[in-house]
């Protein structure tokens, strides 16, 4: 059923027609009205042609997902029209390009090709129509439209303005009623998940980002490259992911806080260096942005099929921290905290997320005050201590750090080593060093027990377990479907926070995840002995739609 509090806008067309840009401009328009919004971009792995769409849901309450019952649809080509007809809500309006779709019964035709012909970039300018339609259909005046075009389409603004006004006028002549979008009270910002986790790391003192392009992590690399001078963060794009991860290991020796990112295929190439980081005790934050696998899979879509892959990274035994943010704002907090955690424990960490979070955007309200006093502190060696040992044994397993240039000998080693860092094959030393690394893990668990490692939303039954970006889908499904349930979302997946989940042992629960084999459900069975009575899975590359998911949850409850 359609959620009446939510207004949804969708624009679709070919790659190269400015579809995503129009979606982003629409999001900003809703933001200016003080409303919250969620934007999901569906695009294919190609540069020209194909079918792309951007869908934005907005409300005066928080919105955690796009909806697919759409109030206003703008189709820039015939394919889009045919595909999205079924998404039109009962009272919705649909526009289509009458030049390539021909006149149709349903919807209102606009001769977009003809109109765009007059301009220097007829393909690209079509996206501007999406915003002109939105303005006309929401009762925005001409001045408002002008301001918006100037702000969002400043490049070639004269042409954009002229085209937008033409479309605006035509639409105005064809509709009798406009949508009344109530003003909201929020004053938030809109960022993508990748921007959020990048900014969180930047706030946490990131010095260097290293990445090799792979969707959906590429935009992290682009973000840091664009903001190099604003943020004082060096970004590097080397020859391959093997170089990425090994350079990261090297960069930690002089003390640089480094983050790297990729998708599953790239992380597979980094895996040897994750194990290296475990042995050398190099603090590195790896971002794993999942997409449907195996192998090249479906590059620009979403899936949670890499959970076990993330949890089992690296040969040998060493502490590995894995966590996954449940919404775009949480990505900021978590990457910030993960950077501190990997440094305190001098071990690799993985921030596991999915395309749906990486590349969707959502209104957030980030309070920087929260980050002033980090909870987890890096242990530094005393400056005038004269018997420094890189791998000194301590009662909590953590050896204080010292950075070159220094008169102390600081040796990090990929071979098993003694406290000084010299290679060893001595049986006692081998066991002692294993103990040291295991003790770090034990200390880590004690530390995690002092913070919140599991999010819970709602109070009643049934209990729904989920994690990562799927959390957003479940939250939205419950709100818009008006379902009473309690969501349990572990933020940390390794170490697994069983201590916060004791009350659910042997409980019957519903699990929602985007994996075909139910990896999260099996993790829950193993780690906290819950009984998943129903595992709601989606694995077609698309994120859940709130209305459909609400139906599935209701079926599972009965």
């Amino acid at each position: 059923m359609k959620d009446e509090d939510v207004f949804t806008y969708l624009i679709g067309g070919k790659a190269g027609e400015g579809v995503k840009k129009a979606g982003t401009a629409a999001t900003r328009f809703f933001l200016d009205l003080g409303r919250e919004s969620f934007q999901m971009n569906d695009y294919q792995s190609l540069i020209r042609g194909g079918h792309n769409f951007s869908v934005v849901s907005t409300s005066t309450r928080e919105v955690y997902s796009h909806h697919m019952e759409v109030d206003l649809i703008v189709n820039l080509d015939e394919r889009s029209r045919d595909l999205h007809e079924e998404h039109l809500a009962k009272e919705g309006i649909m526009f289509y390009n009458s030049n390539d779709s021909g006149e149709r019964d349903q919807g209102l035709g606009l001769p977009l090709d003809e109109m765009a012909e007059e301009y220097s970039k007829p393909d690209l300018i079509k996206g501007v129509a999406g915003i002109a339609v939105l303005a006309a259909c929401t009762g925005m005046d001409k001045k408002g439209l002008e301001d918006m075009i100037k702000k969002e389409y400043s490049r070639g603004v004269e042409e954009n303005l002229s085209f937008a006004k033409e479309v605006y006028k035509k639409v105005g002549e064809n509709i009798d009623e406009t949508f009344d979008l109530k003003k909201g009270k929020t004053h938030s910002t809109v960022i993508t998940g990748n921007e959020s986790l990048s900014l969180g790391a930047a706030a946490g003192g990131l010095d260097i980002y290293i990445g090799y392009p792979m969707t959906p992590a590429s935009s992290i690399l682009h973000f840091f490259a664009t903001h190099r001078d604003d943020l004082n963060i060096m970004s590097i794009h080397p020859e391959n992911e093997i170089a990425v991860a090994n350079m990261a290991v090297g960069a930690t020796v002089p003390g640089a806080r480094v983050m790297v990112g990729s998708s599953g295929g790239g992380l597979a190439l980094m895996e040897e260096a994750i194990s290296l980081a475990g042995m050398t005790e190099s603090p590195i934050l790896f971002v794993l942005g999942s997409r449907p696998g195996p192998s090249t899979g479906v590059p620009t879509y979403t899936e949670q099929g890499d959970l076990h892959f993330a949890l089992n990274q690296g040969h040998g035994e060493f502490p590995l921290i894995v966590s996954s943010p449940g919404c775009i704002e949480e990505a900021f907090h978590l990457s910030n905290m993960m950077l501190d955690l990997v440094w305190k424990y001098q071990t690799p960490g993985i921030l596991l997320t999915e395309k749906h979070l990486c590349e969707s955007s959502m209104s957030v309200d980030i309070d920087m005050k929260k980050f002033e006093e980090g909870v987890f502190k890096t242990e530094k060696a005393d400056e005038d201590q004269d018997d420094y040992k890189r791998y000194e044994k301590t009662d909590h397993g953590i050896s204080p750090l010292k950075y070159p240039p220094s008169d102390d000998l600081i040796k990090w080693n990929s071979y098993e080593h003694d406290e000084m860092g010299y290679t060893t094959e001595d049986p006692d030393m081998i066991s002692e060093m294993h103990d040291k690394r295991r003790e770090k893990n034990e200390t880590l668990i004690l530390d995690l027990k002092n913070i919140n490692c599991v999010n819970e939303f709602g109070e009643s039954t049934p209990i729904i377990f989920t994690y990562g970006s799927t959390t957003m889908s479940v939250r939205e499904a419950l709100i818009s479907g008006d379902i009473d349930a309690k969501i349990v979302q572990p933020l940390f997946l390794n170490p697994f926070p069983f201590w916060e989940l004791e009350e659910y042992i042997h409980e019957e629960v519903i699990v929602v995840e985007q994996s075909s084999t139910g990896q999260f459900a099996s993790l829950l069975r193993e780690k906290c002995r819950v009984k998943p009575k129903e595992v709601i899975r989606r694995y077609d590359g698309r994120p859940f739609e709130p209305a459909r998911l609400a139906e599935k949850i209701e079926e599972a409850i009965i």
Binding site: L31, H187, S188, T189, V190, I191, E195, L199, A202, A203, G205, D207, I208, I210, H227, R228, D230, L231, N232, M234, I236, P238, E239, I242, A243, N246, M247, A248, V249, G250, A251, T252, V253, P254, G255, A256, V258, A273, L276, T280, M368, F371, E372, Y388, P404, P405, S406, D407, D408, L409, I410, K411, W412, N413, S414, Y415, M420, G421, Y422, T423
Partner: protein
């Protein structure tokens, strides 16, 4: 532990190289080179090393210098990471021919292309010694080892040629049989601003004893070639093996090109500046 006066202390770590191995000469040349650099005002506290995995890699344990003992073939990536993070440090990576010219060759080509300010010393012994003498990328065709009992069927690569055409600004070759010369090469390579390679003809007495051949064939070059083309011609000589600096050219280094006038470790923002910078970007998203 403070860095000792001695650059290597036998009592700390047992040396397990075969008696007569060319690696001893390299170790000595490196120590002498560091001492020479120190006599000119440099200090070893500002030197970091890395090494690959193999017989050559053991030099990491034998040198009282800071750094990170890396993976098979990754020493060139690791050392670049150190340099990117703190460009005021000098860095040297040690590789074997299997590591540097096989498993990790791509890193060398790209380090040369981007002109990372690193020095790479390759203990080129024409075989994978630590894994019991299999053929390596520089083994001669017909090389017999446990994985090629009938002789290797592959043509050897000439890494100097590969790196010359990748744009490397410092290409040199040395021989432990000419100790003073090798020392000089290492000093020059470390001083060179940009990517520098010292390929060392390293006899492996156990699996590929080349002393006799090299003693006969090596010929000290008076001067580097003027152009890359001429340098390649030097490599093509059949009657002798030239050692020395084959080619040298000063070019802008990577750190300066990608992050001008900044040292990530020395030019950090404080927390307040960082938060302001983040807030400013968030503001732009309103």
């Amino acid at each position: 532990m403070k860095m000792d006066e001695e650059l290597s202390v036998e009592s700390d770590v047992e040396n397990t190289w075969c008696p007569g191995c060319g690696n001893f000469g390299i170790l000595n040349a490196v120590k002498k080179a560091v001492e020479r650099l120190e006599s000119e005002g440099f200090h070893r506290s500002h030197l970091l090393i890395s090494a690959g995995i193999g017989c050559h890699g053991k030099i990491f344990d034998y040198l009282n210098l800071s750094g990170l003992y890396s993976l098979h073939g990754r020493e060139t990536a690791t050392i670049q990471g150190m340099k990117f993070a703190n460009p005021s440090l000098k860095v040297i990576a040690f590789g074997g021919d299997g590591n540097a010219y096989g498993e990790g060759l791509a890193h060398l080509i790209f380090a040369a292309r981007r002109n990372s300010d690193i020095t790479l010393i390759v203990h080129n012994n024409g075989n994978y010694a630590l894994t019991t003498g299999q053929k390596s990328p520089t083994s001669i065709k017909g090389f017999k080892g446990p994985s090629t009992p009938d002789g290797s069927v592959e043509e050897p690569i000439d890494p100097l040629d590969v790196l010359l055409s990748s744009g490397a600004g410092f290409i040199s070759r040395g021989y432990p049989g000419k100790m003073a010369h090798l020392t000089e090469l290492i000093v020059e390579a470390v001083k060179h601003q940009g990517f520098s390679l010292v390929d060392v003809l390293q006899p492996c007495v156990t699996f590929n004893d080349t002393y006799e051949k090299y003693n006969e064939l090596v010929e000290v070059l008076e001067e580097p070639a003027e152009t890359r083309k001429e340098a390649v011609e030097l490599l093509e000589k059949e009657e002798s093996i030239p050692i020395g600096i084959l080619y040298k050219e000063k070019m802008p280094v990577f750190n300066e090109k990608i992050y001008p006038e900044k040292n990530p470790m020395e030019d950090r923002m404080d927390e307040k500046e960082r938060f302001e910078a983040v807030k400013k970007i968030l503001e732009e998203r309103r």
